[in-house]
């Protein structure tokens, strides 16, 4: 088996032709996504190239503060992505706080644990290990967190009458919202459980494929992939649970009320429609 197969810029650009092809198909079938295809393709190339340059610089410095700064920026963007994927938005700073808090708790805990116990690079924060590891764990935790939070708000909204019927009978908010919490957690965890179940049978995970293509030993690539899957699973689990508890706490108050008036509907012109007035109509 040889080393990495060299890849020229024009070869990557040729693969980009597939994105252009999709844009043409979108135009042909009037899907209205041609601009989105081209912008997304250009963003992928630009963002990853920029990231490559940044990582090249950071890897060369091997400074703890620089690694921490890069990790913080990644976290800030991930928090924004979680908020962007919500059909019913929590108040911006509180929702952003839940997303960032859940990922900070989950991704950083798991990454720091892995760096100090399993991977053990020297120094432990070596950016060429820490940042890719954190990126992979955070990317998956972000998906789980966003899904859990979105499912929680949607389910609490959909089942609001049943939840309030239980509250009215003297049930605690924890009991009344438990089915919604369970549904949110299950939904948030499903992608990683599916990915683990299908790994190696239905799909070859991207990291393992990348390592093999880059000339790494298959055995080493496999062991690293299994490790990464387990770390992602750990991070996603923690993130989903933290997001579900944080979200349900935000949508209740100290008198065990369901506070859907704190949600706003993204695709609704009027935020007010999903607050006091709508609830008043609902209860009549």
């Amino acid at each position: 088996m040889g080393g990495p197969i060299p890849l020229e810029t024009w070869e990557v650009a040729a693969a980009g032709g597939l994105v252009v092809l999709n844009a043409i198909l979108s135009f042909r079938f009037r899907l209205g996504q041609e601009t989105a295809w081209l912008i997304a393709g250009a963003r992928t190339a630009a963002q990853l190239s920029l990231m490559g340059l940044v990582l090249h610089f950071i890897f060369g410095q091997e400074q703890l503060w620089l690694t921490a700064l890069a990790a913080t920026i990644m976290l800030a963007f991930a928090g924004r992505e979680v908020m962007a994927r919500q059909a019913r938005r929590l108040p911006w700073w509180q929702g952003y706080g839940i997303g960032v808090g859940a990922m900070l708790f989950a991704s950083f805990t798991v990454t720091i644990l892995a760096l100090n116990t399993v991977v053990r690079p020297d120094p432990w924060y070596a950016p060429w290990v820490a940042l890719p590891l954190l990126g992979m764990i955070m990317g998956n935790t972000m998906t789980g967190t966003a899904l859990a939070l979105n499912t929680l708000t949607e389910t609490l909204y959909r089942d609001r009458r049943a939840i309030e019927a239980r509250l009215a009978l003297g049930h605690s908010f924890t009991d009344a919202a438990r089915p919604a919490m369970r549904h949110a957690m299950r939904t948030g965890l499903m992608p990683i459980i599916n990915a683990m179940s299908a790994a190696g049978v239905v799909s070859l995970p991207g990291m393992m494929t990348g390592q093999i293509l880059a000339g790494a030993d298959v055995g080493t690539a496999t062991r690293y992939q299994i490790l990464i899957m387990f770390l992602i699973a750990g991070g996603t689990g923690l993130g989903v649970i933290a997001a579900a508890f944080g979200g349900s706490r935000l949508l209740s108050d100290n008198r065990d009320r369901l506070r859907l008036d704190r949600l706003s509907l993204l695709d609704d012109k009027s935020v007010a429609q999903s607050t006091g007035n709508t609830r008043e109509d609902d209860t009549r």
Binding site: R166, L167, H171, T283, R284
Partner: protein, 199 residues
Amino acid sequence: MALLEVRSLARPPLLGPVSFTLDAGTCLGIEGPSGSGKSTLLRALADLDPARGEVFLNGTARNSMPAAAWRARVCYVAAEPAWWAERVGDHFADEERGARLAEALGLAGAMDWTVTRLSTGEGQRLGLARALAGKPAVLLLDEPTSGLDRDAARRVARALERLLEDGGSVVLVAHDPALLDSLAARRLRMANGRLEAAA
């Protein structure tokens, strides 16, 4: 001492401020046009929505009691009760008591029914039975007979009379003058979120 005392309860701009007292064993009837704030008042009394003002039960301030304990004692029944389990009986902590109450409301054997087969009227009566099963001190009823035939409405009125005889109290929001006449010792009218004497 009044069983329930309400002082300046308000939820701007929908409600109040409203004040009234309710003695044990009595029913306060509230009528008024749709959108006047009747349901808002009941929800605020049950502490389901945040509201200003004070509410006391037997002299104990609402905020000094845990919310769940307050709602178990001051129980709100919506016009269309909602369900969270498939089987009717699973909504009752004491199924035997629930079965007796349901039978008194003309729904013998209802504990084993699935909630998807309930008609509006059956759902209303079972919602009332579910609330009565918890032995509340005050029942907050929102249009309890709006979807019922005459016989079913009579059964509901009888169940509420029994609650009043046992020392319970009822705040009854209704458009049905016959029901208000038969149960409510005192009647008030809600208009633009304010309570006034009924005409």
